[in-house]
Symmetry: C2
Subunit: 370 residues, 2 copies
């Protein structure tokens, strides 16, 4: 297997001889998907069949198997990469993906973010501090309510105001109505400020539908969209990335599951396929990620990597304004904190609560070493 292979570390729920057997079976399952004794072509045996490169028994009754998968079986399609990485093995109960190491050729093939952290800073005009983000909720609100909320958040100085990821394009407040009303709200309420608030509508549906949504949004001044790559299909996400180089793609983790390590999927792969920013459920919120898992996601999004731009980590999921100093200390200035429901819970104090969030982010950022 050449240097150009995709290296994947899988966790197997077995040890010893059984783990060896499972690792070998996995190498076949994720490449030629047939018994090795039935492969007659010498080139296929040499270049295409997956290889077990190492197998390490862990203390907890599991083993870590490092496999090399041929770039030939991956091609240049993001969906095919997911398929070779975890297509069939995702159906199994005893296998998970722990880590993915992408060869330089695949990095240049997919290209990563077009804007990334630097592009987002340039669009918002925010430098030297972390960014703040909130969400328009709940689904079912009228477009007037959404516009009012957007205006309020913008006046409070939020950097990004995104749709809830659950808004259907054909909901009561339709995609087009939301874009027109909310983009106008940020344009008007943000006038004269030194930084620019971005409204990020959620795109959904088929590639055709998403493409139409972005075109409409872009024509109305929108420069950032929210998308769930695992719902959209990563090939379509990647196609949009290429088609709209000036749009910031904010990735949502919906449908990412719990079988692949979040750092591999929400970090390495979403960045590879072009996410400029990636939302993940922060530790201590209503989701179950640990502090170490969150640190690994952030590392995967920001680590210097074969010329790929760094993507902006967006910790979210049940965060509160009170935790802002801790979060900025943990993630530094190159992060965007997303607080949604816990702002809205302030109800008639929403404006004050939103300003408190923005001020807390600025204050905490000034405490962080550059």
């Amino acid at each position: 297997m050449s240097m150009e292979a995709l290296r994947v570390v899988y966790r197997l729920r077995s040890v010893g001889a059984e783990a060896t057997r499972r690792a070998e079976a996995l190498a076949l399952e994720q490449s030629v998907e047939m018994p090795i004794e039935a492969v007659t072509d010498a080139r296929v045996l040499r270049d295409v069949v997956g290889r077990v490169e190492s197998l390490e028994q862990q203390g907890d009754g599991t083993s870590l198997a490092r496999l090399a998968l041929s770039a030939e079986s991956i091609g240049s399609d993001a969906g095919q990469l997911m398929n070779m990485l975890f297509g069939n093995s995702s159906l199994l109960d005893d296998v998970g993906v722990v880590d993915v190491d992408v060869p330089a050729t695949l990095n240049s093939c997919f290209g990563g973010p077009r804007l990334g952290i630097d592009g987002i800073r340039s669009l918002t005009g925010v430098s030297g501090r972390a960014l703040s983000c909130t969400a328009l909720k709940p689904i079912g609100s009228t477009v007037e309510d959404l516009a009012r909320m957007t205006r309020l958040f913008c006046q409070a100085g939020l950097d990004v105001i995104k749709d809830d990821h659950g808004w259907a394009a054909d909901a009561r407040a339709s995609f087009r109505e939301r874009v027109v009303a909310c983009q106008r709200a940020v344009d008007e309420a943000g006038r004269g400020r030194s930084t620019r608030t971005l409204y990020a509508p959620v795109i959904s549906g088929s590639l055709d539908a998403m493409r139409g949504q972005i075109r409409f949004a872009q024509a109305h001044g929108v420069s950032m969209v929210l998308v769930a790559p695992m719902v959209a299909g990563v090939s379509n996400f990647h196609a949009l990335r290429r088609e709209f180089p000036e749009i910031v793609f904010l990735a949502h983790p919906a449908l990412a599951g719990n079988q692949m390590a979040p750092a591999a999927l929400l970090g390495t792969l979403f960045r590879l396929f072009g996410a400029d920013a990636s939302i993940f459920p922060n530790h201590g919120g209503r989701f179950s990620y640990s502090r170490a898992v969150c640190a690994a996601i952030v590392g995967a999004l920001r680590v210097p990597l074969n010329g790929l731009r760094a993507a902006l980590p967006v910790p979210a999921g049940g965060m509160t304004v009170e935790r802002v100093p801790e979060l900025v200390a943990e993630y530094g200035r190159d992060a965007m904190l997303l607080i949604g429901g816990s702002l809205l819970i302030a109800r008639d104090q929403l404006a004050a609560r939103s300003r408190a969030f923005v001020e807390a982010v600025a204050a905490a950022s000034s405490e962080v070493a550059t």
Copy 2:
């Protein structure tokens, strides 16, 4: 919540008061995604917020929570259905989807298979018996090898010869080369037979790419394609279903994961979105599904349902010719048995082994009561 809600049964890894708390949290997570006390709109509280309809403690330390999710938050998009069903909760370690009950309005909105079992029988000319299917392997083979294999399988009387799901469109034997060579092979080798062998190439990539592949294939006489809906994105799969009403869609389970009950995903939902046939890993093969799980998948694909056509169950995954009588007895005539690697292992006896498979399916079918 109206009758038109999507009913979903989730398994929670908790009991008692903790399960009640988790179920209520899930109803919010999968609908408005914010604290209930922050929802001020009475209509949203009444019509949009998810509801816990029942909660049953199980003997194994888990609970089954039945939730109603508003059709309003689902809209008419397959991806949005997946998103509301399991978008955020897929990230959790203590929640799985056990069952999905789709309301009649959503069934007619999505429409299900266009051809289904009857359409596949009509295209192949096979009646009164189960069908046989095999796969072209391994990835990396030359197009000449593939054409030779296809001819041999067709002469042996296989009903469907599909690509391996791992073939990238731009592999050495490219999609176009495979289609031209393999479709010609079935056209020539099948001439004069009373039944017709279908070659099913795998489509992959973005919606644009898949659409182009189907158009090319259809122009060359192909009438069935293999597609992995969870890789493609279900909205794109559904878009293709609508765009190509004469194409048989054979669904592959790649990337389906193990967090949703296979009967719900590979059965109910794949059928709903338009799969005419659905491949699943059979019990006793190299995957871990139980006999009961397989029976539930088959039930979900074939049960009479609001006028949706029945889809063809395709048990696969490490099957052997020796198991054909058992499998036909279990699944009946309205099934297609898929045996891949275990035929190829016969190497120079491949033709004889393939004929034995076809004959075993016919013989076993005649034993089954109609």
